[in-house]
Amino acid sequence: MITPPTSSFFAIRITGEAADIVTNKLSPSTTADIFEAVLISDDFESDIFAYNEMDLAIGKIKAELNQEDITIETKLNPLYYPATREDIENSLEANSNDESFKFTGMEGNPFTMASTNIRRHDELVITASMACHQFELPSLTDILDAQKQERLQ
């Protein structure tokens, strides 16, 4: 489990009827003209704080959506949050030279720490991700060792 040494932030893409909710707060007359809204946060020192703020922002919009047939899918990046060795290995893919790995989980971006997708009637209306700024990732061995230490404790 890695603790990122950089600050964190979140981005939320809002479409469909959820975009109408956002536009309606600012400019009711143009609701039909706005295709999508994108919310970008400030930087936060703590990823926990960034995640909580993202959750709060999503919650405000979600509360105004028609609650019928809403599905919420949240994913946590096993590199940063408690996970099994299998979870970590499933998020990696060997590069063609077989000497290194690339991270394919979380849409291939190793710096995305968490994501939340909200669908209504199978239409994706909110896509949110919380990420940290880039830093040099430790080796897979170090990540797995850190994971083992966490479990031993």
């Binding site: 009711p28 007359s29 143009t30 003209d33 706005i34 295709f35 919310l39 703020e53 405000k60």
Partner: protein, 135 residues
């Protein structure tokens, strides 16, 4: 140069820097959010697009001004790409596809100071594809 009204679609993007509006009540609706951006649908008619972006920005500024009471009041200033208007603008980084910019800034900023914008909208021309279905 003339805007190709017959073979283009039009769209706009608008961003408000909520982080620069600390007393704005709208921030309560979007906790932790620094920038709020919207992208419009594609318009087949240039005037529908410019009316929409103007309405959007007018209503946003009205909302902000109401939120801020008399502490700070904001206004809009428009620039048109000099390539189409022949009139020089403060912005120099125009691309051919960008037609206009609407800036939101505090109304009582001194003329001699650098103006700090809290919002911006940009109107773009998009080449029309034959199969492009519009609303």
């Amino acid at each position: 140069m003339n805007i190709d009204l017959d073979h283009s679609n039009f769209a706009y993007t608008a961003t408000i820097k909520l982080s620069e509006l600390p007393k704005c009540k709208t921030q309560e609706d979007f906790p932790g959010v620094a920038d709020l951006a919207v992208n419009s649908r594609n318009f087949s008619n240039y005037f529908d697009c410019t009316n929409s972006v103007k309405n959007y920005m007018d209503e946003v500024v009205k909302t902000i001004n109401l939120d801020m009471a008399n502490d700070h009041q904001f206004m809009i200033q428009t620039e048109v790409n000099p390539e189409y208007s022949g009139v020089d603008t403060k912005s120099k980084d125009w691309s051919t596809s960008e037609l206009a910019r609407l800036w939101v800034f505090e109304a009582d900023q001194a003329e001699d100071k650098m103006i700090m914008a809290v919002g911006q909208a940009r109107v773009f021309m998009i080449p029309r594809e034959p199969s492009n279905n519009l609303h």
